[in-house]
């Protein structure tokens, strides 16, 4: 590739990812931007729960330390950071970053761009009254069915407001819910001046963002193809895309780091969490993953070109969380011999007890870790035969909290009252967990107004 490239590193793939990864990306070689993704469907629910308990929370707190670790490069102006760590409270996230910088005597060096407007909850009833139904994308049911239980509704913003924040001079951009890949598309729009109708380019940027949004999952982590031979995952190199103005890009990582960038590692990430590959829909464009041309150039360089895209649909995806009852899972460990039979005997005892107590649940699920918990019947009839131990997991789900609460008292007694050689019961008193159900929907893009400002 000739000409200027913009280098974007993927420094966080989930909430809980390596706190030191952004610093290693910045210190290990040239990168112009680091994107930090924290938000999964499940994460938004967790953050919402936190904000309900404490209005000053609801963002991915890890981001503060991560940005602190790259303060020198931010101060020198050699790198900029974009993140969706704002979760359901981006203003509080930006404030926490500002406070950290002030403590470090670097507040003047940070220009924190704050992108909001994804939060539709304050105006939700007005939108419903105006005829937006927010039908569930799988079931087709209208949101009215659960409206009284909704606790969060966030639209997936595109890259435009993030790029606007960069144009305002931000060197740290904090947003709430946006498409993960938008964190990579935005700096490319900003640097190369891509227009909102440059669909092929926006699609190429989307693919680049998709490749690095899960951190090291594209550079050797979680790689099924050749995990046995994967070098030094203890020092795995996080992925970097080197993108040129025409949308072609190379996926790579810093020299001397662990992991690998190959056709296998990148392709596994390309097919991760996609639906129809011809229509990967974001707020920016509709990306055709079947247009991707991928060449493994060896030496940790994978070259991607040919990406095609089309106009966006005019709808934005909305992720809605609503109260959906309670669940609890109790666990115990049964030892050899006959661990599976002992665990099944324990299951029968718990079921009989629940019957006698007159407790019925919307759902009961029992699985044995070590004997087919992940693959179920596909693991075959011999799963767990002669296992040295299995973990017994008895789970219930119900609308009625008291029902679930009562269930949690039924596991610990098995230690003394049930089958023998049982252990692992610290915490056998299962905890009741409130379920925030996930309600994916669409809304007219025109009904959502992103806001961009520099944080005070």
């Amino acid at each position: 590739m000739n000409g200027r490239v913009v280098r974007i590193g993927g420094g966080s793939g989930m909430w809980g990812d390596d706190l030191d990864a952004p610093r290693r990306l910045v210190d290990g070689g040239p990168v112009d931007y680091v994107m930090l993704d924290f938000l999964a469907e499940v994460t938004m629910s967790v953050l919402q729960r936190q904000r309900t308990r404490d209005p000053s929370r609801g963002y991915a707190t890890d981001v503060v330390g991560m940005i602190e670790s790259v303060l020198p490069a931010l101060s020198w102006g050699t790198v900029k950071v974009l993140t969706n760590a704002g979760g359901v409270n981006p203003a509080a996230c930006a404030a926490a970053i500002a406070e950290m910088a002030a403590r470090a005597g670097k507040r003047q060096e940070l220009r924190i761009g704050l992108v909001t407007g994804d939060d539709l909850l304050p105006g939700l009833d007005a939108l419903l009254a105006a005829g937006h139904e927010f039908r569930h994308m799988e079931s087709g049911e209208p949101l009215a069915m659960v409206r009284d239980r909704v606790v969060a509704a966030n639209a997936y913003l595109g890259s435009a407001p993030l790029a606007d924040a960069l144009a305002l001079g931000a060197n740290v951009v904090v947003s709430g819910r946006c498409h993960d890949a938008a964190l990579a598309v935005a700096p490319l729009r900003h640097e190369f001046g891509w227009a909102p109708t440059d669909y092929d380019l926006l699609a190429a940027g989307t693919v680049a963002g998709h490749v690095i949004e899960c951190g090291a999952q594209s550079s050797g982590g979680n790689c099924l193809a050749d995990w046995r031979t994967m070098p030094d995952l203890a020092d795995v190199g996080y992925p970097i895309v080197e993108v040129s103005a025409d949308g072609r890009f190379v996926v790579t990582k810093h020299p001397g780091t662990g992991g690998r960038v190959s056709a296998a590692t990148v392709t596994e990430q390309l097919v991760y969490e996609i639906g129809d590959p011809r229509a990967y829909v974001t707020a920016d464009c509709v990306t055709d993953f079947t247009s991707i041309k991928l060449i493994d150039e060896r030496d940790d360089r994978v070259y991607i070109s040919g990406v095609r895209g089309g106009a966006p649909t005019g709808k934005l995806k909305v992720s809605i969380a609503y109260h959906d009852g309670y669940k609890a899972v109790g666990t115990l460990v049964y030892g050899w011999p006959d661990a599976v039979e002992k665990a099944r005997a324990a299951e029968r005892i718990v079921r009989a007890r629940l019957d006698r107590l007159g407790l019925a649940f919307e759902r009961v699920h029992v699985e044995l870790v070590g004997a087919g918990a992940t693959h179920g019947p596909l693991a075959g009839p011999d799963a767990g035969r002669d296992a040295p131990e299995v973990q017994f997991r008895f789970g219930v789900r119900d609308r009625d909290r008291a029902n679930v609460e009562r269930f949690t008292r039924e596991i610990a007694p098995l230690v003394l009252n049930g089958p023998p050689t049982v252990t692992g019961y610290f915490g056998a008193r299962a905890k009741v967990e409130e379920i925030l159900g996930y309600w994916p929907a669409l809304v007219d893009a025109a009904a959502v107004t992103p806001r961009v400002e520099l944080a005070p």
């Binding site: 469907e41 639906g275 789900r397 379920i435």
Partner: protein, 118 residues
């Protein structure tokens, strides 16, 4: 002849609500033709029948030597509701690779597989 899918493909899976997707990728470019012909929606639906409650969709990515399967109703209600330890379907990739393809030995598509697996 029987070809274990795990011998000719790798895979990755993840969640979208109560659906899971499993991307199946040929270990060699020439083996994509075997996947394309024999790893049908019917084969995958039958395999996963005990584990999922909804239909299966298949999408082809010949450019990446890959097929993408979307398994509806695969996650016991989805990430937050599920009582399963694998609430997000992260191990459905290898559940897919348990499939053994039944392929006529005469099919020229499988010649290189036969050679490699010998």
């Amino acid at each position: 002849m029987n070809i274990p899918l795990a011998d000719i493909a790798h895979a990755r899976s993840g969640d979208k609500g109560d659906s899971a997707n499993v991307g199946v990728i040929a270990l060699r470019p020439e083996w994509y033709a075997v996947l394309e012909k024999y790893l049908t929606v019917d084969v995958v639906s039958a395999h996963f029948a005990p584990l999922i409650s909804g239909p299966v969709e298949r999408y082809d990515l010949p450019n990446l030597g890959a097929l993408n399967f979307v398994l509806h109703g695969a996650l016991d209600g989805g990430g937050t509701r599920s009582l399963r330890i694998d609430a997000q379907g992260k191990t459905l990739s290898t559940a897919m690779l348990r499939i053994v393809l039944d392929v006529p030995a005469s099919d020229p598509r499988v010649a290189s597989v036969r050679q490699a697996l010998r």
